[in-house]
Every structure is written in C-alpha cells, then in structure tokens.
Symmetry: C2
C-alpha cells in the first residue's frame, strides 16, 4: 500500500490506493482543518504535493488557489486521492490550531450524594445451620452497612454469576459496588475481593463540538482529582456541526460515533493519568453535550435535525452502560447523558441552567451561551423560555478581516484614547499581535463608538483626520496596529465591513434576548442577573458588551460568568444524584421559542442593529455615556496621531 509522508512533521501513514490525502492525514494523526466536513467546499485543507502521484475526480485549478499556487503543488487534501507513495507538505495554516481551554474553579455548593457507592462487608461463611444462599448472605451483609433497601437492589446476571467465586476467593471479605443504573434502580454492578472501598471514582464530561473535557472525582474524598481536555476528534470530519451531520449522512454514523467515544476515552485517560488513578476504577460517566453531539455519541441518527422540519430523535436523558457505546471504564459502569430541550437547546444548555441555578430562584435570570451559534434562556423557578440562533462567526473572529480565535497573538483587550484615537491593547500570551479575537473586537466596537469614530449605525466617520482612520482598499477602516508593531505583513485593521458583520452578530443576540423578554412580558429592569456560559464570557469586557448592545443593560455587578457551565452542570449531576431529577424537570420546563417562527423577532433584530439599540431608553447608562463622549470629542485632530 502507498505510504504518505507529511512534512514538516515527517508523520507517515500507509493507506490504500484511492484514499484521500485527508484520510491519510487523519491516519497519521494530523488534525487538518476541514470546516466543510471534507466536501471540497471550504478550501481550508490546502496542502502541497512535494513528490509522488495523486489523482483527482475533478479539476482543481482556480477554485481556491492561483495558478502560482497550483504550480507549487497546491491541492485540497479532501479531494486528492493517493495514487502511489507521496510526500505532502502541510502548511501550519491548514492545521487546527491549539486552543486555549478555559475551565473556571468549580464552585459547587451541591450536596455530595453520588449515585455510586462501595461497601466493604465481612460475612460469616455458610454453615449447615445457616445455609442461606450466597446472594442472600451478601445482601444481608450489605443491608447492615447500606440501609434497609437492599431488598430492592437489582442484581444483573453478569454480577450474579461472579458472586459465589468472589465470595470464596475473598474468604467472605468483599467490597460491593452499588450504583443507580437504568432504568433507575440500584444495581449491584461489581464485587471485588477484600477492601477496595477507597478506590471509587466518577467522571463528568463536557462533550463540546470542539473540545472534550473530562473531570474526575474521587467519590470517597469528595473532590476533583484530575481534569484534562482534548480535541473532539470529530473535527477531522468537519469543523462545524452541520458538516459533521453531512459527513454522517454520506459516510455513515459509526465513524463519528467512534470518534466521539475515542475523544472521551482519551480525555478520561489523560484525566486519570493526571489524577494518578486507574481508569478501571471510574464507576460512572456523566456527559453533557449539545443535541447533535449526544445523538452522535449514542449512535442515534442526527440527520433529521438538519433538514425541515428539524426533528431530533429524543430529548430525554439517556442512562445506559458505558461499555455499550464503547466508553471503557469500570466493568458495568453506567453512563448518564443529559436531557435536552430541542435540536438547538441541548444538554449543554440544560447543564448551564443547572450550573447557574437560575431554575431554582425566584429572581429572573438571563443565561447566554455565545459561539458561532448562541443560545439564550430566560426565566426563574416558575417558567423558562429559550431560543437559539446563528450569531455568525464574527463574534469569534470569523468573517472579520483580522479576526482570529482566542489563540496566542490575538488581541483580547482594547481601549482607545478618545483624544488621540491611539489604542492600548493586550494579546494572548503577550506575543506580537496577529489579529483580534472576539473579546478584542467587542472592546474595539465599544471604544470606536465612545470615541465617536463610528456612529450608532456603525458607520466610520471618514471625515476624522487621523492616520488611523482611512479609506482602505474596499472599505473605510481603522488601524488597530501598524504592521511594524504587528506579527503580520500588513497593518491590523477593522473595516466598515467587519463592523457591519459584528453588528449583525450582536443584533442577533440582543434581538433574541429582547424577543424572549417580550414573549415573557418582562423588562430589562426585571432581570436580576445575566449569566455568560462558555469560553466567550471569560475575557469579555462586560461594559463593552453593554455599550455595543450585545446584551440588555443591567448593572455590571449583575453580569456573571459561569465559565464552562456544561462541565459544571455535569459535575453537579455526577456528585448529587437527586439533581438528575432536577435537570429532567429543567429540560421539561424550558419552553423553546423558534425565532424564525416568532413574528416579533425580525422587528427586535432590526431595532438591535443599532449601537446599542434604536431605543436608547433601554440603555440609560450607555445613553449617558454616549452623550458625554459626543460632548467631549465632537472632533478628532491629527495632533493625536500614531
């Protein structure tokens, strides 16, 4: 079989004739960027042939690269078929970048009441006077330490078969593991010789479409002992969820299912290594993920969610045996997967709601999770409404000329001196700036507004006489970093087009929030707390978010960041079994509002397309701020230059 060697890493893979170079790269362990899922549509998987023969189904020139690049051997890894031994150069830009993973300290106040328990019991051996059956003897012994409900413990056949031998090998001194298992009763899931009661662990998993995080708890000591994350290996089948569902439709679900379990197994191994424990001592796995992710993980077809009428197969929680889907921890360990609300409001959002406790309080909260898509939940302990939408990639640095993800070199914070228009910024890892990530872009928009560089429509005031404000090649633009200071060959700018995209994104989010408020009949004054969940909120400047009208105006100290809410929610449900009932109730109580079917949404979106909103009375503090700015800086002079 042909061997494909990838440069500069010199990773190799042996593949069949006709395999794509993308297949070969995946086999070689390279995470090549395939936003479109390998459909030849995104042009992100550009590689260069150095030597050897490739074959194509269609001509490649001029679609994603110039004749010059073609002459250098450029091709799309997803469209080129291996036709002999090959040497392929993979530019760094075609690899998925290492990403900052943000996990906040786990501030869990829930009672510690896990669903798995180990009991060390010492039994008297059977005698002619007491010849009760092995199982009766074991359960009677267990009852003394476990309580009077032993009679209700279900003993699956596999465990039962091991009972006589282990009791005798252990000389009637054994440790029984009892766990809440499907469909909701305590099972005897394991029996070990001697006292192993101190070795009892469980794992919470945040199954994100990009990242999988595993958090291991010591259920005896009641604390986290290991945490680790890694890429969701499904990325090799497409960066966004739609691409992956399409991949599944084209190539079958099983590969995506396997990649999901492999990702979880890898995260579990890493976390177990961190903790210095054996993965075989993990007796329960709790997973929170979005609806498509959990469908795929469980091997349930997600195809009907991406075409009209957009129907998931299930939204209830799933309780099964971990090994049954290929997650390998302790024998017979259970797996619990969070319930969801709809195709767009999945278990991750239910976990967010559980984590921020908004469903347990009288005060009204607004919970926002922003990525390429966003989800919003509004409500309290009596009612909850939710919606979801596409924010577009702008808030994460996509569709913005110098936008980038929160990787090293990204400008994450910006202020602009309103007099000189000179920015002050900081970058991730304090390296030379290469671009601007989401939090930086929101700062920039807010600062440009308060510095009167842009107006409430987002239009750049090109009459301003300052070298940073200029016309640009196609659009007016503001220079954030001169190329001499930057890690780039060009000036880092934000263009009128970027600003338009950012405003469209933020209008989607704010419009969704105000639509839910309208549906629920409440005003922004009635909102007690706004929660940000997910990585987005970690570096976000709260004032900037309000200034541009990304979220409704509330006092700054009422905006809270819960970090990885999905992981936190999974942790809560993992260590307190009663919370599983709570989260079923949450999932059932959250009403889902389909924005496209909600007549008021378009109006709310249009009104939100201003900075911060057409109706300034909804943003009284921002209104005051803007008045003051306009007063102080009606014009800008060249004097403040560079």
């Amino acid at each position: 079989m042909p061997i494909v060697t990838f440069l500069p890493s010199y990773r190799k893979a042996e593949v069949e004739f006709g395999a794509t170079i993308l297949d070969a790269a995946q086999r070689a362990g390279l995470n090549i960027n395939v936003v479109c899922g390998g459909q030849g549509k995104c042009g992100k998987c550009i590689v260069y042939r150095k030597s050897g023969r490739v074959a194509f189904e269609r001509q490649q020139y001029s679609r994603f690269f110039s004749h010059g690049e073609l002459e250098k051997g450029a091709l799309l890894a997803c469209e080129a078929f291996v036709n002999g031994d090959l040497e392929i150069v993979v530019p760094e830009s075609s690899l998925i970048q290492e990403q900052k993973i943000l996990i906040e300290g786990l501030d869990l106040t829930t009672a510690f009441r896990p669903s798995v328990m180990k009991y060390h019991v010492t039994l008297s051996p059977p005698t002619l006077e007491d010849p009760s059956p092995d199982l009766t003897r074991l359960l009677d012994g267990l009852e003394k330490v476990h309580g009077p409900t032993t009679d209700l413990i279900f003993v699956p056949l596999g465990a039962l078969r091991s009972v006589p031998q282990i009791l005798r090998d252990g000389n009637w001194d054994v440790t029984a593991t009892v766990a809440l298992m499907p469909p909701g009763r305590f099972w005897l899931i394991d029996l070990e010789e001697g006292d192993t009661s101190q070795r009892l662990y469980a794992a919470a998993i945040d199954l994100g479409s990009t990242t999988v995080v595993a958090c291991i708890w010591d259920l005896v000591k009641g604390k986290v002992v290991g945490i680790a994350s890694n890429y969701n290996r499904q990325i090799s089948c497409g960066e966004d969820i739609l691409s992956r569902v399409n991949f599944a439709r084209k190539n079958g679900l099983s590969k995506l299912q396997t990649l999901a379990t492999e990702s979880i197994n890898a995260a579990l191994t890493a976390a177990a290594n961190n903790a210095g424990i054996d993965r075989d001592d993990i007796y329960e796995v709790m997973v929170a993920g979005n609806t498509v992710m959990t469908h795929m993980l469980l091997g349930i077809d997600p195809a009907y969610m991406i075409a009209e009428p957009y129907v998931p197969v299930m939204r209830r929680s799933i309780n099964t045996e971990a090994a049954s889907i290929g997650i390998f921890v302790a024998k017979n360990a259970g797996l619990f997967v969070f319930p969801g609300v709809s195709d767009y409001i999945g278990g991750d959002i239910v976990a967010d709601v559980l984590a921020c406790r908004m469903g347990e309080r009288e005060e009204i909260s607004l919970m926002i999770d922003i990525g390429t898509n966003f989800e919003v939940v509004l409500g309290n302990n009596e009612w909850m409404f939710s919606c979801a939408g596409a924010a577009g990639p702008a808030l994460e640095g996509g569709e913005v000329l110098f936008g980038m993800r929160a990787n090293p070199g990204a400008i994450e914070k910006v202020t602009i001196d309103p007099d000189t228009l000179k920015p002050t910024y900081s970058t991730i890892n304090q390296v030379k700036p290469k671009g601007i990530c989401g939090s930086g872009l929101i700062d920039l928009l807010a600062e440009l507004l308060t510095a009167c560089v842009i107006d409430r429509n987002g239009l750049i005031d090109t009459t301003i006489e300052n070298p940073r404000v200029r016309k640009g090649e196609y659009f007016a633009e503001y220079v954030v970093v001169w190329k001499e200071e930057a890690g780039t060959e060009k000036d880092i700018v934000i263009t009128q087009n970027d600003i338009k995209n950012l405003i469209m994104s933020k209008a989607s989010v704010l419009g969704a929030c105000t639509t839910l408020m309208k549906v629920a009949g409440i005003t922004h004054e009635e909102i007690d707390t706004i929660y940000f969940s997910g990585g987005f909120g970690n570096y976000l400047n709260k004032q900037s978010a309000i200034t541009i009208g990304l979220i409704p105006e509330v006092p700054l100290d009422q905006i809270k960041n819960i970090g990885n809410g999905a992981l936190m929610g999974a942790n809560i449900a993992l260590i307190n079994r009663d919370q599983r009932r709570t989260l079923e109730l949450i999932a059932r109580n959250i009403a889902y509002i389909e924005l496209n079917a909600e007549p008021s949404f378009m109006d709310e979106y249009t009104q939100s397309s201003f900075l911060p909103h057409t109706d300034l009375s909804l943003f009284p503090n921002v209104s005051t701020l803007l008045d003051r700015c306009r007063l102080n800086h009606p014009h800008h002079s060249l004097n403040g230059g560079v």
Copy 2:
C-alpha cells in the same frame, strides 16, 4: 479427523483423536444413557466396537461385563477414546427410552394480564409547527392507547436507535411492543412498521431435569396455541442432577448451560411449529425449574449446592434478556425465571404452589411432588412449611427387579383377586408386559396387603399355597405375570427385596409429611386437600397410595392431581404479571425444614415403615379395610391357581 459411525442408525460424527465415544455419540445426536454423568460408574453406556481402533485409560474387563461380552467388543462409551475411524454398535438398552409426557388440560382461572403488549399507533408526521422529537411523538401517540404512564416507559438505547428509521419507513404508522423488563419497569422493546399488533406470543417453559416442555400463548387471543416437549439434552451429561453437577465441576458449566438453552430452543421451535407461528414473535419466556436447573440455565455455578453446607447462589427470581443466555426469540424479549426457596425446593415447587393455589386459601393443603427425590409443602395463606428428601428410585421402578419407567409395556394398574391371588393388570400402550412402573408397584403393594399376601411389615407369607407365591432364587416373591404371557424371558415377579425398597421409599414420603404436620402442629383431619404434582400422580391409584401409607389418609375426593404444576405455574405467571409478585411472596413465605436436622424425622420415618403406619388410628379407613380383608381371606388355597 476420525469418523465414528454408529450402528444400526448409521449416524456419523467426525471427532478429534482422543474424544470419547460418548462425545462422538452426542455429536451424532444419539442420547446415550449416562446415569453417572460419564464417570464410568454406572455401566449404562455399553456399546460394541465393530471395527476400528479405540484407546482406554484403564482396563475395562470384568467391571461391567463378562469375558464373553468383552470378546464381542463391549466397552463403556464414556471410557473409550477414539483412536481412528470406528464402527460402533449401540444396543437399544444403552439409549435413553422415549418417555410418555403427561400434560393435563390447563385449567387456568387467573386474570389475563400479560406483561407484554403491542400497540399499533398512527402518528402525524412532524412539521415546522410541530417539530417535537421522534421519541416524544411516538410516546405521545402511545399514551393515547396505552394510558397515562407512557412517561415512565424506559427506552433502551438499542430500541431508541431504530426509532427514526422505522417511523419514517413505516410512514408514521407503526407497532410498538412494550414489556415489563428488568429490573421491573416497562420498556419499549421493539418497534415495527405497520400494524403487527396481532402477532404477539409468549412461552412458558417447564425446565425439568429429564424433560423440557414449552407452551406457547397467543397473547392477543389469550389462549394456548402450541405445546411441545423434548428431552433435556443435559441427560447426555448425566441422568441425575448430582451427576450433572459433577460433570460441570469436571468439565465446566458452559456445556450444561448450552445444553439447557438448546433444549429450550428446541422445545420452543417445536411448539412454534405446532402453533404455526414464528419464534421471532415470542416476546417473553417464563421458566420454572428446580434450583440446580435454573442455576445451570443462567450460567450460575451450582457446585456449592452438592457439598456441605449445601448453599445455592440465589433463590430470588431472575429477570434478564432471553438472548443474553442464548434463548433466541424476539429481539430484546425478556426472560423470567421462577424464584426458589432452597437448594431442594426450587422454582418448580413454587410453581406447583402457585398452580394449586394453596397459598391463597385458608384451608390447609399438602402438596407432594414425587420423583427420585420428593418435595412436600404443607400450609395455607398464612404459613407454609416445606421439606425434601430422597425417595429412592423404587417408586419410579428403580431398585426393583422388574421395575421400569412409565414406558410402553409397563404394568401401570394391578388388582389381585383375594381368593385366587390372580392379578388383573393393564400395561401402557396395551402391549405385552415387560415390567412394572411406579403406579403399578403401588397398586401391587396395596393389593398384596389387602389380599394378605404380605403383612403390615411387608413380609410375604410364604406359607400360602399358591404357585404365585414362591421362594425365588434369593428372596421370596410373588409372580405378577408368567413368562408365557410376558414380553420377557422370565416370569415378572415382585420380590421381598423389592417390597423392602418400596416400603423404604414410601416411608420417606409419609415420614416427611407427618414431620411437617408435627412441625406445624396439625393432624391429618385438618388437611383439606392433598395435591400431587408431576407425572407421578397421573396414573396413581389414590386408594392404593393411602392403603400402603404413601400419604396421610384423607377422603379420596380430597386428593387432587395438578399434573405438570411447574408448567401450569409458569403459565399463570406468564399470562398474569401480578402473579409474579405473588410468587415472590410464596417463595419468601415457605419455610424450609431440613429433615436431616429435624429430630422428629427419624421417628416419623420408622413409624411410616409399616403398611400403612404403626399407628392405625391415623388410617381409620385403611384399618377397617384390613380388618375386613383378614376376616374374609385368612388363607389362600391352591384352587385359585394360575
């Protein structure tokens, strides 16, 4: 590999060098008699080598056959190893005989409330206005026909995965199968396109150590549609239970487990063929069997039951998936195995108790199941005592010179003219008599007693001048059939030794009954009904049983025969799910009395070693009968000869 050909059937098997001829016979489908479980101890598996080479571990001569037979090539199939191609003659006497299977009409008065149901539902397809998840849609549809508890239906992952495709392939017109599954909740176990609600069957199994009976119910029409039985294939590993447990200890449990499931599968196939249905439409299997049988069926080690302190692994009922132990019916179908009381009082006896309803009535009943071992249960709806013991083989025709099983040619009924001492008898299948089966022996004993041929000690009165009463070679004997009338080369007789063995057997049973009565503090007048369960009672003459004191004296119309109580009990629990709770209670409420540990038993046994008992006041009617007989026939004359 060598080929072994068995004559006269010309069945062939290809086996490895070193396999026993017994192995080869089993592979060829021949049921060779191995009472000892293939340990070379019973001498029942005699076959003759016609040609080819065999090997032995030890010399065979003089243990079970004469030099003459050795010269004819006689060997034990369990001890001879295949050492090349072979021709082996199998005499009919070494094959397990075909046995009469007795199943009484099923007189079930229980409510029809099975645990499996099918629901045909027609759903409206999802729309943009109603995009609820597939599962929600299905369960909502189900709720309309099934009731308000659909929310509690557990949907296992396997079934869930099939939901989206089947809903769409079936054009939203489907049939859902819902069943009570372990650990005790309703599961969605199957989903089919279209309306299959009329195809719903379930099977009750009597897993006997000799015979497996399957009874198939149409759960829609509420009636039995097929019944079939076959040998328990474990017989090839030993006729009695002890031999099989020893076989399992020596060779591992898996072969016996496989033979048990194969026997059940074969019975199910035959019953399904009788019914003209597909085995795949059987959605539940209910099994009643003794404790060792059910341990073996479930792959649970029975070894600790046959050595001190005689401990079973479990006595609770087992609910699992049929396929998980190799019983193949409908996908995901459940298997329910009856609970037992102790090693000797198993699920078959619990089924007997359920079948005769003695645990539900105020009146006191005595239930007796007689085989080589016997089990007795005494009690009512408030209390029950049970015990078990070895009756010895005499009551089934073993250890009796002309004793035989209830096969064609067995004398099953006998009366003796008290004047001439000439017997009148009937044989099974009305063929020439070959021997005497259990019911015939009991008749014979009773008739010899009332004809004054034997006294209450069972001693033959050799002073009687009648050719039928003679001294015999070793023991005094009574001639039942002259050889000229018989299908044998010798006169069919009953000897003093046979009578001794029969009395020891009947004394064990009566002694057990009176011991339980003593433990419970009740007299024979307080017993309302005596039930016989099992094949033994089918042809038993009730008066004879009382005359010899096999059972306590009660009016004849209070003795009832429930036939195959195990099968009947299994049927009841199969078609009425509430009865499963009842039988758990029965199993728990039956106290087990270990006769060997019960001080009064030896005394009761000794008193029962008389015909009918030392204390004739316990048998007032028999006492009267004996007085009358003695009065009328103090002597017998030669005149009544032949």
